[in-house]
């Protein structure tokens, strides 16, 4: 067990490329930390610097209060699960799991006991005599985890461990990892670009963009109070809708009409010529399904619905709209960074599945203007954010606050 503390960590490659830029992050003892971001944001590099497979250009990496910058991976007592499992093909499952213990020259009885314990926990007991080549993807994944847990390592590091599995197995393994971590209470750092893994697994999430730490917080904090456009775009699926807006005399002009929010979080912004407004898909609702009491509180507008997708538990409606050139350009850049490509400016709206709205019709939609986020059009900063807001089920570890 150990806490991991990073102070101003920088990684610069020989060609001058800066993969990780001045990252400071405290991971408490026993905490489950997620590193998330689009490909190339430096999250894997950061993980490899923790484990020692990558040199640290500058900054301090402390594990359990000891500076480990110059320590070889074998002296850091960390366990890592690789994206493609990295099992030893010439060894049986038993010997694969036992490998770290064998290197330490642990007595045979201890090896046997620990491997059997781990195998039981991961339901691998009947596969111990087989070779990795004869295992399914999920089983290989579990062997890799087994190799990590027999170590009694100070921390677990996961590098996108589930990205090679199919969707169903991924769901099962996700809960498996969560259960294992809760049971062992080992400090864990988990790199992913998967929405669901990021939102559900960790105590806290760290969002990286081009090697720079954007925001660290619980899933709730990131979802409800994103620090900037980037975080707002990364967290949530389907992603947050960004539309251009203008604030004048406390009234906000949106492509769907002018609203006048009264809450302090929005009114304190003051007048601005151009802002970007953020709406989560579920902020919208089919007007006909909004309870009568709420109707007057929100804003109602009529749109042409382009396409709808009914998923059983949800209904997605796509609503095209016109946006000024300047905003389109900035949003286009953001899209590219997030590895997605949107062809047109459109709203994605999540409606109640009972809604009667269908493709190619006009629809009356409703939203509550108090919930929307306002971002600075130039810097992307969230102007409506309350950085100190906490949520009931936030599992914030004692004394750990990193901003």
């Amino acid at each position: 067990m150990a806490e991991i503390t990073m102070k101003n960590i920088v990684k610069r490659y020989g060609d001058g490329f800066q993969a990780v830029n001045d990252v400071s992050l405290d991971i408490a003892d026993g905490e489950f930390m997620i590193l998330v971001g689009p490909s190339g944001c430096g999250k894997s590099t950061l993980l490899r610097m923790i484990v020692g497979l990558e040199d640290i250009t500058s900054g301090d990496m402390m594990i359990g209060g000891v500076r480990v910058n110059k320590k070889a991976p074998r002296d850091r007592n960390l366990a890592m699960v690789f994206q493609n499992y990295a099992l030893y093909p010439h060894l049986t499952v038993f010997e694969n799991i036992a490998f770290p213990l064998r290197l330490r020259k642990a007595p045979e009885s201890e090896v046997r006991q620990r491997v059997n314990e781990a195998a039981e926990m991961l339901e691998l007991t009947e596969h111990l005599g087989r070779r990795p080549a004869n295992l399914s993807g999920g089983q290989r994944q579990r062997v890799a985890m087994g190799r990590a847990i027999v170590r009694k390592a100070d921390a677990f590091l996961f590098d996108e461990p589930l990205s090679n599995l199919d969707a169903k197995l991924r769901g099962q393994m996700r809960t498996e990892i969560a259960r294992m971590q809760r049971r062992l209470g080992t400090t864990t750092v988990y790199v992913t670009h998967d929405q669901t893994e990021a939102m559900t697994l960790g105590d806290r999430i760290a969002v990286l963009r081009k090697g720079v730490l954007q925001q660290v917080g619980s899933a709730h904090q990131l979802y409800e109070e994103p620090a900037n456009l980037f975080v707002a775009g990364v967290i949530g699926s389907p992603p947050m809708n960004f539309v251009p807006g203008r604030i004048a005399d406390g009234r906000i002009e949106t492509p769907f009409g002018t609203v006048a929010p009264t809450s302090e979080r929005i009114t304190r912004i003051g007048d601005r010529d151009l802002v970007i407004l953020g709406f989560r898909p579920e902020y919208f609702e089919d007007y006909s399904l909004v309870p009568a009491g709420a109707r007057t509180r929100g804003h109602t507008f009529t749109v042409d619905v382009d396409v709808t997708e009914w998923l059983g538990n949800e209904l997605y409606a796509y609503v095209p709209y016109e946006a000024p050139e300047e905003v389109t350009r900035q949003l286009g850049e953001l899209e590219r960074e997030l590895d997605s490509e949107q062809m047109r400016t459109q709203l994605v709206v999540a409606l109640d599945p009972a809604s009667r709205i269908r493709s190619g019709t006009k629809a009356e939609l409703w939203f509550d203007p108090e919930r929307m986020h306002v971002f600075d059009a130039a810097t992307g900063d969230n102007l409506t954010r309350d950085p100190d807001r906490t949520f009931d089920d936030d599992n914030v570890h004692a004394g750990v606050r990193t901003e």
Binding site: G52, L53, R74, Y85, L87, Y88, F99, R104, A133
Partner: protein, 277 residues
């Protein structure tokens, strides 16, 4: 059923090729068991009418053959060993490291492998004589190495490239030193490649003819392929053909045994299952 018809064609084609390839071999075996005095009979038969061992007795009692066999085994083994050890280091560097001139080195190795041996024989003959290594083991091992090394380097670097090197890092995280990671993880993974290369190189040296016949003059270093052409049979009045065939069978046996014994090793996809498959 298109699929069935296609597969029948494949089977027929395969059988034809098999017969084509095996026929000379069978003929060789059959001839080696025929009586050297009567094998040219009026009514030729494919299989001998009477199976005899005399040809084998002839070749093994001939000093020319036994010393050639010794030379062949010695020269091939030494050349293979040297070639594999050197190629192992070269292939590791080619597969793992990036350095200027790597492409050039590889294409030069290929160019040497392509180089016509016949063009080298004359100069080598003169050079070896003035150096005093004409008609010696070392005089054959050196040119054998020249042609075997590119083959070994290319084969082995192809194998080494397939090794998931992430494994080395996994081992280091698991607590291994660089040497332990190499010995306990990389060596077992590389072994099939090294092995296959060794066998291929051994065949190459074992079968080498042109250099062997040009750079030797006596039993001191003459290898079997070269010695066969000097074969005369039991007496000079007897056709040496059946005896040559018996000698050919004897030198083919180690090759066939090696392939049979190690074909699983040669083809083993030992790395299968290491990574997502």
């Amino acid at each position: 059923m298109v699929g069935q018809r296609a597969s029948r064609w494949w089977t027929t084609g395969g059988l034809l090729i098999l017969v084509w390839a095996l026929f000379p071999l069978l003929w060789m075996v059959s001839l080696s068991f025929k009586d050297p005095n009567t094998f040219r009979s009026q009514t030729p038969t494919f299989f001998p009418s009477k199976w005899v061992w005399t040809n084998y007795q002839t070749v093994f009692s001939d000093a020319l053959f036994t010393s050639a066999l010794r030379n062949s085994i010695g020269i091939s083994l030494i050349a293979t060993l040297l070639s594999v050890v050197i190629a192992m280091f070269a292939a590791y560097a080619i597969a793992r490291m990036d350095y200027p001139g790597k492409k050039f080195l590889l294409s030069m190795a290929l160019a040497i492998a392509m180089f016509p041996q016949a063009a080298l024989v004359g100069p080598l003959f003169n050079m070896w004589r003035s150096l005093g290594i004409y008609d010696t083991w070392i005089g054959l091992i050196i040119p054998d190495l020249t042609f075997a090394l590119p083959l070994s380097i290319w084969t082995m670097s192809a194998f080494f490239r397939q090794i998931p090197w992430e494994m080395e890092q996994a081992a280091q995280v698991d607590g291994a030193t660089a040497w332990q990671a190499f010995r306990r993880v990389i060596v077992p993974l590389a072994a099939p490649g090294v092995f296959t290369t060794a066998i291929l190189t051994f065949f190459f040296c074992w079968n080498e003819f042109l250099l062997a016949i040009s750079l030797t003059s006596t039993n001191r270093a003459r290898t079997v392929p070269a010695a066969l052409s000097f074969f005369t049979g039991a007496s000079q009045f007897q056709s040496p053909i059946t005896a040559i065939m018996a000698a050919s069978v004897v030198v083919t046996i180690p090759v066939v045994l090696l392939v049979l014994a190690f074909q699983r090793r040669i083809m083993a996809g030992l790395t299968a299952g290491a990574v997502k498959g």
